[in-house]
């Protein structure tokens, strides 16, 4: 089922640069910084092997990107600046977290819209069911009124 990885692995092996590079594992002053780094690299997508983040990817470009993230962190850059710098080079594609803007507002707002919409529908169902349940004890006038309303086909206006 998963054929692409081997293919990518082959590509990576064939196209790896011949020079042995310096340390790819970084030193951090604090544990918090190390975690921040791990978080950052786990949210950036490798443009070469496009289904891995740069933390998991062995592609040379991922290593370069990790280097850059580390270098910018050491220079005191914020997370937004770091992600921004990589987006400026490789495109929005590299961030796994889509930016919130007018293209994606529907995407981000969707869970809230769907859930609230769904709950409103269920509220409507309950309301209708309750009305039916209340039918028998209706007084004669109420019933007459209800029938009148039904006849005029505007049952939604009825809020009692």
């Amino acid at each position: 089922m998963r054929l692409l990885p081997a293919f990518l692995a082959v590509l990576m092996m064939l196209s790896g640069p011949a020079i042995a590079e310096v340390s790819e594992v970084y030193d951090f002053d604090t544990r918090a910084e190390e975690q921040r780094y791990q978080q950052l690299i786990s949210e950036l997508r490798c443009p070469k092997c496009q289904n891995q983040n740069i933390a998991d990817s062995n592609a040379p470009i991922s290593k370069d990107m990790r280097d850059e993230v580390y270098r910018m962190m050491q220079d005191g850059a914020s997370n937004d600046q770091i992600v921004g710098a990589l987006v400026d080079r490789f495109g929005e594609f590299v961030q796994y977290k889509p930016p919130v803007d007018n293209r994606t507002i529907l995407l981000w707002a969707f869970p809230a819209i769907a859930t609230i919409g769904g709950f409103l529908i269920v509220a409507g169902v309950v309301w209708r069911a309750r009305r039916r349940e209340d039918e028998p004890p209706l007084s004669a006038e109420d019933r007459a009124r209800a029938e009148q309303i039904l006849a005029s086909q505007s049952d939604k206006a009825d809020r009692r």
Binding site: M1, P5, E43, P111, R130
Partner: protein, 665 residues
């Protein structure tokens, strides 16, 4: 010679499938029993020929017949026999054949286990399944023939199976997953048959239920196996990546979960029929969508098969015809009349409906998150990636809400639940879960809002389920008797919910309290991960059956005491020229310690990935518990359908929803 026979068998199977999709349906519509009687023999014949084709392909793998292109591309003479066997479904063509074998296997199962169902219904259901089989058989025969030959230039040896697939997890994962995907075709066929003959009643819901539950259980196992495999085999220690193909398997799971619960309401109370039948169609449609996404190449994914636009077009046509036809049928035939059934605002009906709202919202969220990049690209609005950070932010609230609702819903009653009574009932479980969750926070040494909510939701579900079990099993003859008295379907529900709580607890704890470190180590170095101290002692080389490996030796200490030795490897597979990282894991019920070797940094130093993964096993154990719950539920006595129903329908008497529903409760 054999491969040609295999192809012939597929063609014969296709002919039978065509007959199956026409003859029994015609019989059902015209009321001719003689035509309906063809349904079962045709289904059996289809199964025999498809199984024969599958056996022939398997044989070609086992005897290294590299004249068959598919075998040459996916196997190698050096491969151990069990991987040769699993290599049958290691590529597009063979996995499609497995998919079809399972589809027809389900068809046969319906034919066998529905002897007590009305013949008209069975004929229609089997005809619908026949139509689905026609589509997939045409697909394999026209675009993806696994028996294509490489004649006369037969390669001396095969190109080897992708090393990632040379693994026990991957022997099991696709069959389970496909059993689930394809299993939903039965619920779909029942829904279509019910729409055709206008009999969307409680009996229909009852017949659909066990099939849906068993398909769902297989899908649960399949997804869990895939996650487990990714965790130890892909070498990065992740268990869910929100990759498009993973999402594709989650989609029918989520809507299938909604379907199971909605079917329960329709069976017991005869309401929400239009909704339930829609869910049955949508769940199968999502299974097909998953097949399309994996095999068409429209999205990038680690798991995708080599893409081929021709196959993609064919699959899209297949998907389009199936879905458009069934949704059109739905639009015209689904009932809009309201059954006069009473339920109050706190009734179990409403709780289950709210559960459906959350599950369907989650389904749509995953669908939109998966397809959104495609839409934006089409509209030329840029190339976006939608991954883990997005889904973690948006999916978690829905999951927590589902858990909170579930805990309360367990105590609700059909028709009407007294609000004050329910509130009093929930007081103790609430208090216990709050205290227990706080204790877990302290135990893991750190409070985080989402960690708390996730753990609380899991606790809440667990305590409420246990409380309800305690209530229900009260008996004058003693607790044991009370427990034994509970139906299997009730036990199934209990396990299903406890399994879900385990998954929620595992996911929350491992995401919030797991530790991941990439460190530079040379033999002799020590590093801490969580409370564990890892000592890199040695590095060596060894030779496997079809690879060579460098392996590291690591000692794992906790509080100065040796816990275990770990030997992660970096393997080179010469045939496919690929490199694989084999992590080594010390697995435990409450935590895993994970070590993987990365790049060689200098002559003696290596990049080593160390991970401490608390409760990660609960993800898969919980899934297993859920699946066992599903299998237990279908073993319930009431699914041995009584002859009475059958006679009632045969004599032309309309099935009375109320009667059947009452009989079951």
């Amino acid at each position: 010679m054999y491969p040609e026979l295999g192809q012939l068998a597929l063609i014969l199977s296709l002919l039978l499938a065509v007959l199956l999709s026409v003859v029994p349906l015609a019989g059902a519509l015209t009321g001719r029993d003689s035509l309906q009687a063809f349904a079962r023999p045709l289904a059996s014949g289809m199964f025999v020929f498809t199984a024969l084709a599958f056996a022939i392909l398997t044989h070609a793998f086992l005897v290294d017949d590299f004249s068959v292109a598919y075998v040459a591309n996916n196997s190698n003479s050096m491969l151990p026999w069990y991987y040769k066997f699993s290599a049958v479904w290691g590529g597009h063509e063979g996995s499609l054949l497995l998919w079809i074998l399972m589809l027809i296997g389900w068809t046969l199962a319906v034919a066998i286990f529905s002897r007590k169902l009305p013949s008209v219904m069975v004929s229609q259901v089997l005809s619908v399944l026949g139509m689905v089989s026609v589509g997939f058989l045409l697909f394999i025969i026209l675009t993806s023939n696994p028996f294509d030959r490489l004649l006369p230039n037969v390669p001396a040896d095969g190109q080897d199976l992708n090393p990632l697939l040379q693994d026990i997890g991957l022997i099991m994962h696709p069959p389970m997953l496909y059993m689930g995907y394809v299993g939903f075709s039965v619920a779909f066929a029942f829904a279509i048959a019910a729409l055709i003959n206008g009999r969307l009643d409680a009996a229909w819901a009852r017949w659909s239920r066990p099939w849906t539950t068993v398909a769902w259980s297989f899908l649960t196992l399949g997804i869990a196996l895939g996650s487990w495999w990714a965790y130890y085999e892909l070498g990065w220690g992740g268990w869910w990546f929100w990759d498009p193909v993973e999402n594709a398997s989650l989609l029918p799971w989520l809507s299938g979960t909604a379907l199971m619960h909605s079917l329960a309401v329709t069976e017991k109370r005869g309401v929400f029929k239009s909704w339930t039948v829609l869910l049955a169609i949508v769940t199968f449609a999502l299974s097909l969508l998953g097949a399309f996404l994996v095999r068409s190449g429209v999205l990038t994914s680690v798991h995708a098969f080599a893409s081929d636009p021709e196959r993609g077009s064919f699959l899209l046509a297949l998907l389009g015809i199936t879905i458009l036809a069934s949704l059109t049928l739905y639009a015209f035939r689904a009932p809009v009349v309201h059954v006069r059934s009473r339920y109050g605002s706190l009734s179990r009906e409403i709780f289950l409906l709210l559960n459906n709202v959350l599950l369907v919202s989650a389904t749509m969220l995953v669908a939109i998150g998966t397809l959104y990049p495609l839409v934006l690209d089409y509209l030329d609005l840029g190339k976006l990636s939608i991954g883990e950070p997005f889904f973690n932010t948006t999916f978690s609230p829905l999951a927590v809400a589902t858990g909170l609702l579930l805990g309360a819903g367990i105590f609700s009653r059909w028709k009407k639940t007294d609000g004050g009574w329910l509130a009093r009932k929930l007081l103790w479980p609430l208090a216990i879960s709050l205290v227990a969750s706080a204790a877990v926070m302290i135990g893991y040494g750190g409070f985080a809002p989402w960690a708390f909510l996730g753990v609380f939701a899991a606790m809440w579900v667990t305590v409420a389920t246990a409380w309800d079990l305690w209530d229900k099993s009260a008996s004058r003859k003693g607790r044991w008797h009370g427990l034994k008295r509970q139906s299997r379907s009730y036990w199934g529900m209990v396990l299903g919910h406890l399994g879900l709580a385990m998954v929620m607890a595992g996911a929350t704890v491992v995401s919030n309290y797991g530790v991941e470190r990439d460190v530079r180590m040379q033999p002799g170095d020590r590093a801490m991960v969580g409370d564990y101290e890892i000592v890199f002692t040695d590095i060596g080389e060894r030779r496997g059956p079809n690879f060579t490996a460098q392996y590291g030796s690591f000692n794992v200490y906790l509080d100065g005491e040796l816990v275990t030795d770990l030997h992660p490897e970096k393997r080179q597979y010469p045939v496919g020229m690929s490199v694989m990282t084999e992590a080594d894991i010390d697995a435990g019920l409450f935590r895993d310690v994970f070590v993987a070797i990365g790049e060689r940094i200098s002559d003696d130093a290596w990049a080593i990935r160390l991970q401490y993964k608390p409760l990660v096993r609960w993800l898969w154990l919980g899934s297993l518990v859920m699946a066992i719950g599903g299998f237990l539920a279908i073993a319930d006595k009431r699914y041995r359908v009584r002859v009475r129903d059958e006679e009632a329908v045969k004599s032309g008497e309309p099935a009375v929803p109320g009667k059947v529903a009452e009989a079951s409760t």
